[in-house]
């Protein structure tokens, strides 16, 4: 691990451990914006990891960012951290300035904003669905259409009407509608297909990292609980059935972390999305098992709102569906295999032919 990464990871863990409490996450779920925590994260430079210092960023690379996102998952941070970070990476690629205010991203096939250029500014119309943290974000990174040309746009949300909804974890997933709204915006000509693919990869990997982090925390909590909780006159970790569950939890967690770490390196090195797809398939499949078994070990106490466990398990249930579930990513892998006539599975797995034979 680079020194930079070690520092960022340590710093982030310190901030989140001290500040992202159970009660704070509860409050966020009740609809209260956690501005203080946002500020701390911003001041630590987390939103501009992967953006060079010259361009006003923190430095480091994408991989550093994904490792920080793992911690965002671990502490169930109720803020659009991954959206703002990835949004800034996209802005950088487009040659735009990074943002420190909350960003969100809505890049989907068949959803775009119609743009007309008028004297008083831009006139925008369109609906974006399931926008993460939509109600709290200042701007959204999305696709615009102007006279049949498609653009990458950075659009202020002020002025849009917002229909609130949430995912299983209580995180906002809002519908944002613009209806002839007059606004400023920044736009860059873009190949939409490439952009969609890119965003799916970045968001997919960010969710893999966040899920791995959540599992890590769940495993720690569960092991700790089996030490403290007594039944039949002894701590429950002495029960063989509990031991079996702990081992399965450890296995799913370790496998998710390992393949995600591998995917992060491979993506950083050569945009390899094969490891990324594997990581998403694995983490999404593991999520359900980890949630189920951690609850089973915790028993009744773990399903109460008072307990922290559900803040993490509900996130696993929500996140495994977001940015593609295991079916979607397995299908992506299947397409790659089908399109690669010549290789056997083993050649595909070991990839000795070239750096990235399946790209």
């Amino acid at each position: 691990m680079s020194e930079m990464r070690e520092l960022m990871v340590e710093l982030t863990e310190k901030i989140l451990k001290e500040n992202c409490s159970k009660e704070l996450v509860d409050q966020a779920e009740e609809g209260i914006w956690q501005g203080k925590l946002w500020k701390l994260i911003e001041e630590a430079g987390i939103f501009t990891i992967g953006i060079s210092e010259d361009s006003g960023g923190t430095g480091g690379d994408y991989a550093d960012g994904f490792h920080v996102l793992r911690l965002v998952g671990k502490y169930a941070v109720p803020l659009p951290v991954s959206e703002t970070l990835i949004g800034n990476w996209l802005l950088q690629e487009m040659g735009l300035q990074p943002e420190t205010n909350p960003l969100t991203i809505s890049i989907k096939k068949d959803e775009f904003i119609n743009i007309q250029e008028k004297e008083q500014g831009f006139l925008v119309t369109g609906k974006l669905t399931k926008v993460p943290w939509g109600r709290f974000a200042k701007k959204v990174v999305t696709i615009g259409k102007k006279e049949d040309e498609t653009y990458f746009i950075l659009l202020p949300i002020e002025g849009a009407s917002i229909e609130k909804s949430t995912n299983l974890a209580g995180e906002p997933q809002d519908t944002i509608s613009f209806d002839q709204t007059v606004t400023e915006l920044q736009m860059k000509f873009v190949n939409v297909e490439g952009l969609i693919e890119k965003v799916q990869d970045l968001q997919g990997l960010s969710k893999a990292a966040m899920m791995s982090g959540a599992m890590e925390n769940i495993l720690d909590m569960t092991v700790q609980y089996t030490r403290e909780r007594e039944q039949f006159g002894r701590p429950i970790h002495r029960q063989q059935a509990v031991q079996q569950y702990l081992a399965i939890l450890a296995g799913e967690t370790a496998a998710s972390l390992t393949i995600t770490n591998k995917a992060i390196e491979a993506f950083q090195e050569n945009n390899d999305v094969y490891e990324l797809a594997s990581a998403r398939v694995k983490t999404s499949s593991a999520a359900g098992k980890v949630a189920e078994l951690s609850h089973q070990v915790h028993g009744a106490i773990g399903v109460t709102y008072e307990h922290r466990l559900h803040q993490l398990t509900r996130r696993l249930w929500a996140w495994r569906e977001e940015a593609g579930n295991e079916n979607d990513w397995a299908e992506k892998l299947a397409h790659k295999i089908l399109n690669d006539d010549k290789s056997t599975l083993w050649e595909f797995l070991t990839r000795t032919g070239s750096k990235n034979p399946v790209g």
């Binding site: 039949f232 359900g288 028993g299």
Partner: protein
């Protein structure tokens, strides 16, 4: 060795007519807006109006003698009513415990006065009971229950805490498992009794426990020097453990341990049929076959229960398998259709999926955890 042989039950034409009658009633009530279908409705669907309507129909306490307000119908008729209610996801949480286990317990162990007093009210759908077994720290280890009743003039003084009691905030009474004698280190199961506690008595306080969804279905119930009159002792003093075990057989073998997520399965099949998606419908049929086999087992146990057979071990087995199945429905559904679980989605399947996933952790905990049930099954087989 213990054998799990269950009878094959064939419903008659008369049964089928009755089933259609129940189904028609449920459909009309849903159309009228009395209720909205939801998963896990037997724990989360509280609706006093609906309970009263069922009472009017004679469908609560349906098997009980007429003199106690029952309809003297068969166990299979009862089975039909409750599985139709569950399949429709109707709001039955209010009277569920009273109908399922408190009433039958009183019928079997209660005094004539108790039967005459409680059963008709239950059968009308106006009197709800809560279960008083679990305690903080007792969890699966029921023998460690420490709520105690001390004899006094004309009754008992009760002190202690019960927890995870579903619906106690709506219930009128609770049957409390408590110690009436000190612990006997030689026999962990001795010295227990069951008392009917009026939850409006002085000294009773109820604190809601929020479920992970934020909703309050269950509670912590505190007893502080609560006076319980002699006539509220159920069965014999000191026989509480055995009576409690009998109660558990009612609690464990019913279709609510198989059908909590049924509305979701129904939606899944509907969607796959609409899509004409044969490969995925084929996968879903594996769930249907599993359900079919569990249902036949559960019906067989209902028949045995009516015949007075001891079905404790088989009930534990079915509860274990059934609750695993309920979870599997949710986990399979999310991979067989394109649906994002969300409690506030407009799509029915996404709503049911969210309900099922969020409630799933409780399925294999409440009413005996997977591990406890499997222990009961294994020990039962090895012993006999």
């Amino acid at each position: 060795m213990y054998k799990f042989v269950l009878p094959v039950v064939e419903f008659t034409e008369e049964h089928n007519r009755f089933r259609l009658e129940v189904r028609e009633f449920l459909q009309k009530e849903r159309e009228k807006g009395t209720y909205e279908t939801r998963c896990d409705s037997w724990l989360n669907g509280f609706n006093p109006e609906f309970s009263r309507k069922l009472g009017e129909k004679g469908w609560i306490g349906i098997t009980w003698p007429k003199k106690y307000g029952g309809s003297e119908r068969s166990a299979l008729d009862r089975y039909i009513v409750i599985e139709e209610l569950l399949a429709a996801g109707a709001p039955v949480a209010g009277h569920w415990i009273a109908d399922r286990q408190s009433g039958p317990l009183l019928l079997r162990f209660g005094t004539e006065e108790q039967r005459k007093f409680y059963l008709p009210k239950i059968a009308k759908g106006e009197c709800y009971f809560a279960i008083g077994m679990s305690e903080p720290n007792s969890g699966s280890d029921l023998a460690s229950v420490s709520t105690r009743a001390v004899k006094t003039d004309g009754g008992w003084i009760l002190n202690g805490t019960k927890t995870w009691t579903s619906g106690a905030h709506h219930a009128h009474y609770m049957i409390v498992l408590c110690r009436t004698r000190p612990k006997d280190s030689q026999n962990r199961h001795a010295g227990f009794s069951q008392l009917i506690v009026d939850l409006s008595s002085p000294g009773v306080s109820i604190r809601p426990i929020k479920y992970l969804t934020g909703a309050a279905h269950f509670n912590e119930v505190f007893f502080e020097n609560v006076f319980v009159p002699d006539e509220n002792l159920v069965g014999q003093e000191g026989n509480g453990w055995k009576q409690n075990m009998a109660e558990l057989a009612y609690e464990r073998s019913g279709p609510e341990r198989i059908l909590s997520t049924y509305p979701l399965l129904e939606e899944l099949i509907k969607e796959l049929k609409e899509n004409q998606d044969l490969p995925r419908l084929t996968e879903a049929m594996k769930l249907v076959a599993e359900l079919n086999s569990l249902r036949q087992m559960s019906i067989g146990v209902a028949k045995y229960l009516e015949e007075g057979k001891d079905v404790g071990i088989t009930a534990a087995l079915i509860k274990d398998m059934g609750t695993k199945f309920e979870k599997l429905v949710a986990e399979m559904t999310r991979l067989l259709v394109n649906a994002t679980p969300s409690l506030d989605s407009e799509k029915t399947i996404e709503k049911y999926l969210a309900q099922s996933i969020l409630h799933a952790p409780g399925f294999t905990l409440r009413g005996g955890t997977t591990e406890i049930l499997r222990g009961i099954v294994a020990k039962g087989m090895v012993a006999q």
